[in-house]
């Protein structure tokens, strides 16, 4: 059950407000700031440090931290807890993320708020456990079956691990959807300065609980906009939660094509309608540039390095960094390429978000990619080489 934040205790547990911290630990700190009171996880390189940090912090705050028997159980426990009012989270990497896909679909279908951190590592399969990659990006959106929407954020710094994990909890509550924080093994283990906010300014967004009494409350009617109010188990609402398609009352409606259509369209539209509100990008446009970079996550650091070197050498180059990757910020990307002929997408994979970019642009500019797999980051010079000689085709 949700409790008021104990800021005094939080301050003790979080430690100094300025720290030289690893990305994984920063995600854990961000979770605490986000009001996380339930964590279930399973060890997996390079995300294990998140579970370890949370296991140290959450019990001191009266929250629950438990290592479950596998990743499927971890996400399941998170979803169960969420229905009692908890702000719940798990963290994993590629192989665990694959196991969680069914649960993610269940969370979408039942509109269960939850936060999942995926510290991406080189795949496919067991791959290179200790090497970073960005190979789970399309899986983030499409990993589970059926039509659904996902909110996915991509930190590019350790500070963003704090801030975006914290934000993820608020978004999960606001949209009643899984929110994914897509980091990677590089950011997860890298150390940088973080500055934690003044706890007086920390107030997690409260869940919209029912405004009507149990006998009149219609659980999935979504009378205000497309996100329904969510009752806590144990408060007399007798909520029935099921992954089967359901009507507004929450009861199975598998033979009712209209009910299913209404439901699934609403589940998707509640996110896609909010694309602009959810869009967070960073734009660095240079006058006269005809080429631009579209980057996210750890590769945005490489891109920023390329822009710095380009400016030193008098090469005009613009840069758009995606912080929200899904729902895909189509309008922001289209706006960015207005005066550009070419767009280059650097990624630690063989081309994933470059496809989303190309789809969004629909020919408005040529899309190329710089792909690097194997664990090393893309070097800024590789990007500059692509700027002058062309990148790989998408």
């Amino acid at each position: 059950m949700p409790a008021e934040l104990d800021r005094r205790r939080m301050a003790r547990v979080l430690g100094r407000s300025e720290q030289f911290a690893q990305g994984d630990v920063a995600c854990a700190l961000g979770a605490v700031l986000g009001g996380c009171d339930f964590f279930a996880g399973y060890p997996i390189t390079p995300a294990t440090e998140i579970a370890e940090a949370v296991s140290r912090m959450l019990p001191r705050l009266g929250g629950v931290a438990i290592q479950m028997e596998d990743e499927i159980a971890s996400l399941s426990a998170v979803l169960g807890a969420a229905w009692t009012g908890s702000r719940a989270m798990t963290a994993t990497s590629g192989p665990g993320f694959s196991l969680m896909q069914e649960g993610i679909g269940y969370a979408c279908m039942t509109e269960t708020p939850c936060v999942i951190v995926d510290v991406q590592r080189s795949g496919p399969s067991t791959g290179q456990p200790t090497e970073p990659a960005q190979g789970d990006m399309l899986q983030a959106k499409w990993g589970t079956h059926g039509d659904h929407e996902i909110i996915a954020l991509a930190p590019s710094s350790v500070q963003e691990c704090v801030d975006l994990t914290r934000l993820a909890f608020d978004l999960a509550e606001e949209y009643r959807n899984p929110v994914l924080v897509m980091t990677d093994g590089e950011i997860g283990h890298m150390r940088e300065r973080i500055l934690l906010p003044d706890l007086a300014d920390v107030e997690p967004r409260h869940r919209q609980r029912p405004s009507s009494l149990p006998d009149t409350f219609v659980p999935f009617a979504a009378t205000n906009g497309k996100v329904p109010e969510m009752p806590d188990f144990g408060t007399g609402y007798h909520a029935y939660v099921t992954g089967l398609t359901h009507n507004e009352r929450g009861f199975p409606a598998t033979d009712d094509a209209d009910a299913h259509t209404r439901l699934v369209r609403r589940l998707c539209e509640k996110i896609t309608d909010a694309t602009e509100r959810l869009t967070r990008v960073e734009v660095d446009s240079e006058d006269g540039a005809r080429v631009g970079l579209v980057s996210y996550g750890i590769s945005a650091r490489s891109a920023a390095g390329a822009v710095r070197l380009a400016r030193e050498r008098g090469i005009r180059l613009s840069h758009l960094r995606l912080v929200t990757v899904f729902p895909f910020p189509e309008r922001a990307v289209l706006e960015f390429v207005r005066d550009l002929d070419r767009v280059i997408v650097p990624e630690l994979n063989l081309g994933q978000i470059c496809h989303s970019v190309r789809e969004a642009l629909a020919g408005a500019a040529r899309v190329e990619r710089v792909s690097r797999i194997g664990g090393e980051m893309i070097h800024p010079d590789e990007i500059l080489h692509a700027v002058s000689h062309g990148g790989e085709p998408v």
């Binding site: 059950m1 205790r9 003790r12 547990v13 979080l14 430690g15 630990v25 854990a28 700190l29 009171d37 339930f38 279930a40 940090a53 949370v54 140290r56 912090m57 019990p59 001191r60 009266g62 629950v64 438990i66 479950m68 028997e69 596998d70 499927i72 159980a73 399941s76 426990a77 998170v78 979803l79 169960g80 807890a81 969420a82 229905w83 009692t84 009012g85 908890s86 719940a88 069914e102 649960g103 269940y106 806590d232 188990f233 144990g234 408060t235 007399g236 609402y237 007798h238 909520a239 029935y240 939660v241 099921t242 992954g243 089967l244 009352r249 009861f251 199975p252």
Partner: protein
């Protein structure tokens, strides 16, 4: 003692969900009846009871109950229930599951929850097959049993679910058939009252899925089969040593009862200890 059937129906059944999906001769309706009677006898506040389930016919039960219900993914009910109970320990959490859901795909969650001894009540309806999908072999199908995926007879040995539960550490383990109403109701009551993992296996017929190919083609045949093929623990203890040794019947009754620390309690004790340390200004651990 017991309230009337009408009282049970009016208090606990969701009218809009009726009639149920269960086939003629199915035993799951009995399981629903016995569980609700146990809840009612205990005088539980139904607002504070959460019913969880996985996927399968028995997992449909929460939908019929006027209470908070969590119908989850195949095999994962116990894991979801773990989250519910740990996050809201004041709630009573009852899991409905089946032999396939719990011991097939869900086996791992079953044994770990029992090992952890989290305060859950797990009611497993064992009808020896995957009924909802049309009668495939399950981890409890008897050897030589005929199912749609073992058309030439099952080559495997079945689990003894109660032995598994006991081996995994559950403090209360009981098995009955739905032909023992009062004993089953009492077992469910005890399982709910048990501070820890209370496990009740209920053998129930599935004429449509399993029964018709395996000498249990309708309810009377199924009940007769149970009469022939089960023996209570008490009756077993009254047999001669030779008869006991050669017993082939399924043993029903309370098969294990013990007291041991419950996971949630231990966790909350830890939280209290840590709070005291922090309040006293001492740091038991390095800062997170």
């Amino acid at each position: 003692m017991f309230n009337t059937a009408r009282h049970i129906r009016d208090t606990y059944i969701r009218d809009e969900m009726w009639p149920s999906i269960f086939c003629t001769g199915c035993g799951i309706g009995n399981v629903l009846n016995y569980t609700l009677r146990a809840v009612d006898s205990l005088g539980l506040d139904i607002d504070k009871v959460v019913f969880c389930s996985g996927i399968g016919c028995s997992s449909r039960l929460p939908g019929y109950i006027e209470a908070d219900g969590l119908h989850t993914t195949h095999g994962r009910a116990i894991a979801f229930a773990t989250g519910v109970k740990l996050a809201a320990p004041e709630l009573d959490v009852v899991v409905f599951t089946g032999d396939g859901d719990m011991a097939g795909i869900g086996g791992n969650h079953f044994i770990h929850a029992a090992r952890r001894n989290l305060d859950l009540t797990v009611i497993c309806v064992n009808n020896h097959n995957y009924g909802m999908t049309g009668g495939q072999v399950s981890p409890t199908t008897p050897t030589r049993g005929t199912t749609t995926t073992t058309p030439y007879g099952n080559l495997e040995e079945p689990f003894d679910l109660c032995r598994l539960a006991i081996g995994a550490g559950a403090p209360f383990v009981a098995r009955w058939t739905m032909g023992y109403p009062y004993e089953t109701i009492a077992a469910v009551e005890t399982a709910i009252r048990t501070r820890g993992f209370g496990f009740v296996e209920i053998l129930a017929p599935c004429p449509t899925g399993y029964g018709k190919a395996n000498q249990q083609r309708d309810a009377p045949a199924a009940w007769a089969w149970y009469r022939e093929n089960t023996i209570t623990r008490v009756d077993l203890s009254r047999l001669s040593p030779e008869e006991r040794a050669s017993n082939q019947r399924i043993v029903v009754g309370t098969l294990w009862q013990a007291t041991k620390p419950e996971y949630g309690e231990r966790y909350r004790e830890l939280v209290t200890r840590l709070r005291q340390h922090d309040d006293a200004g001492s740091d038991p651990l390095p800062p997170g």
